[in-house]
């Protein structure tokens, strides 16, 4: 069942491959709602490779910028460089996102559960409770985007059976959950981790293993996942980076290694 896999060589890190794999998921012409961090690296990488017409939209009111390396905030002047419009949060979250004009949104979160619900508000209960930044635009993205892309480190505690708090709706309680809540059912989720790519099963809505990072086994993924994901009928292995992808990422998109040095914490890659 486990496909042939090549071990990750010393020529790239798993983190780099996560960004590259997420970039591959963007189609030319997609209108992408993105924050900073690894999602922005993935989006700019897509623009510089197979998807030059990807349009970036950033919550603070920035539309179609030509981002300069390497912004660390949605209000960083680097994300505003040569935008076609600098507007308002309402124009972006209301008139584009809720209006139904965004194809893909990038999200992060401290917890992602079986049905792709996301928690960025509070983890734990009672005295061990840890407060997180809250929704920001995340709930809005999950409510109104047609596709969600999540880049995250693969750890058991990040993938519980059920989130402690649902900040952003995935498929809620499963098939029909979104319609019952009043949300559009035209929705799909892809989670790219350092171990695998998870996607929602179109029938059950649950996240399942769709691809493995080179050298990773299904068993390793299951061991690092708090719920037990199904395995897609044809699990592929994530293709290795091309030299061009690596060069762009390292030399042009994050030359100072602001994000590529180490995996980000959930709070900073989240928007």
């Amino acid at each position: 069942m486990t496909p042939a896999s090549s071990p990750a060589g010393p020529d790239h890190s798993r983190q780099e491959l996560m960004v590259i794999e997420a970039a591959r998921d963007l189609r030319d012409g997609d209108i992408v709602f993105v924050g900073t961090g690894l999602p922005m690296l993935a989006t700019t990488l897509a623009q510089r490779t197979h998807a030059p017409n990807v349009v970036m939209v950033i919550e603070s009111g920035v539309i179609a910028p030509q981002v300069r390396p390497t912004p660390i905030s949605v209000s960083d002047p680097k994300v505003m460089h040569r935008a076609v419009k600098l507007g308002t949060l309402r124009e972006v979250l209301g008139c584009l996102l809720q209006r139904g004009m965004i194809d893909v949104g990038f999200l992060g979160g401290a917890q992602i559960d079986r049905f792709a619900n996301i928690n960025s508000t509070v983890v734990g209960r009672g005295s061990t409770q840890r407060r997180l930044p809250g929704s920001g635009g995340a709930n809005d993205m999950a409510s109104h985007c047609r596709r969600l892309l999540i880049i995250t480190h693969h750890e058991r505690r990040r993938f519980p059976e059920r989130c402690d708090y649902v900040t952003s709706p995935g498929f809620l309680d499963g098939p029909g959950g979104r319609e019952r809540a009043g949300l559009s059912p035209d929705f799909a989720v892809t989670v790219v981790t350092d171990l695998a790519v998870l996607e929602n099963d179109p029938q059950t809505c649950a996240l399942r293993i769709a691809a493995l990072m080179p050298g990773v086994t299904v068993e390793e993924v299951l061991a690092a996942t708090g719920f037990r994901p199904e395995v897609a009928p044809e699990v592929r292995t994530v293709a290795p980076p091309t030299p061009d992808q690596l060069r762009l990422l390292r030399d042009e998109l994050d030359p100072e290694r602001v994000y590529l040095k180490a995996e980000e914490s959930a709070t900073t890659s989240r928007r």
Partner: protein, 309 residues
């Protein structure tokens, strides 16, 4: 009614101390401009801390370093927002600690839900419909009208829609690039939730990088973001958003943001010491700028912005 007493004079230029004393009262609902590390109204925030005006309810979309310092100073009773963080620089640590230890009430919305509340407020509408929140734990479980209610869309029976209540802050503080003495203001670059929040507020204090003449405003009426009718006080304060950035003027100061965050993460006594040194220890914001940055650093931040554009 608050709105009846809006300032109608044509010269609204005040010092930060005068403006804050006049328009921010203890217990007020305070609207915060800016986002993350961009255009946070730091000069006006410091002045509120200096005057120790407490029991505030702080509202906004993303609440950031300004709100966190107000919390650190013990002046905040409650926040209503979409998030509290400084992204790459981490969360708003004092806010987080205050929530975790139960000393701060917090009402969580999404950013769109907060903008929708300000939109209702500026339109004089009692609420705004949204399809955000639905299905999530941001939506209260009970049907009682508080944080939000869910109704059926009258035009599409069976379709649910959330209503969020209008929010009209008693006073908002916003730092902008340019304003004239009567309060016409020009926001350059991104404007986040500020236009809606400003128009929704009963009183507005603006700090600005540059004071321009009303002549200049009238020469380009399509560039005015907000007309003077909504503004009560104009405070001229170059670098008034430092250590956050002001688009077109200067970049953020990563080192000083990080220094605050280190103190904030540590909590007492580090963060008290920060406030003593940089806020209570400074009679004016200019003193703070000299102490925290110095003119060379400030000029370098200006150059960094110029190079970027």
């Amino acid at each position: 009614m608050m709105s009846e007493t809006r300032q109608r004079t044509r010269d609204k230029v005040l010092t930060a101390a005068e403006a804050v004393a006049r328009y921010v009262r203890p217990g007020a609902v305070l609207g915060m401009g800016g986002q993350n590390i961009g255009r946070c109204p730091m000069a006006l925030t410091h002045e509120i801390i200096r005057q120790r005006i407490g029991r505030l309810t702080v509202v906004g979309c993303n609440l950031s370093i300004g709100m966190d310092q107000l919390v650190a100073a013990g002046l905040v009773r409650r926040t209503e927002s979409g998030s509290g963080n400084l992204e790459r620089f981490g969360v708003t640590f004092c806010w987080r600690r205050a929530i975790e230890n139960g000393s701060l009430e917090v009402e969580d919305y999404s950013h769109l839900a907060m903008v929708s509340r300000f939109l209702a407020g500026e339109m004089g509408a009692p609420f705004m419909p949204t399809r955000s929140l639905l299905g999530s734990d941001l939506l209260p479980a009970t049907g009682e009208a508080g944080k939000a209610v869910v109704i059926e869309d009258p035009w599409n029976p069976g379709q649910r829609v959330a209503l969020v209540p209008a929010l009209q802050p008693e006073v908002s503080i916003v730092h902008v690039q340019r304003a004239d003495p009567s309060g016409n203001i020009i926001i350059e670059g991104f404007a986040t939730h500020e236009p809606e929040m400003i128009r929704a507020s009963h009183h507005v204090i603006i700090s600005c990088e540059e004071l321009v003449s009303t002549e200049e405003i009238r020469a380009h009426p399509e560039r005015t973001t907000i007309p003077f009718l909504y503004v009560d006080a104009v405070v001229v304060q170059p670098y008034g958003a430092y250590p956050t950035s002001t688009y077109g003027h200067y970049d953020y100061d990563a080192a000083h943001v990080a220094a605050y965050q280190e103190a904030a993460r540590e909590g007492s006594p580090a963060v008290d010491e920060y406030l003593r040194r940089y806020v209570w220890g400074c009679a004016t914001f200019d003193e703070y700028l000299a102490l925290a940055a110095g003119s060379e650093r400030l000029i370098a931040l200006r150059r960094a912005m110029e190079e970027m554009l």
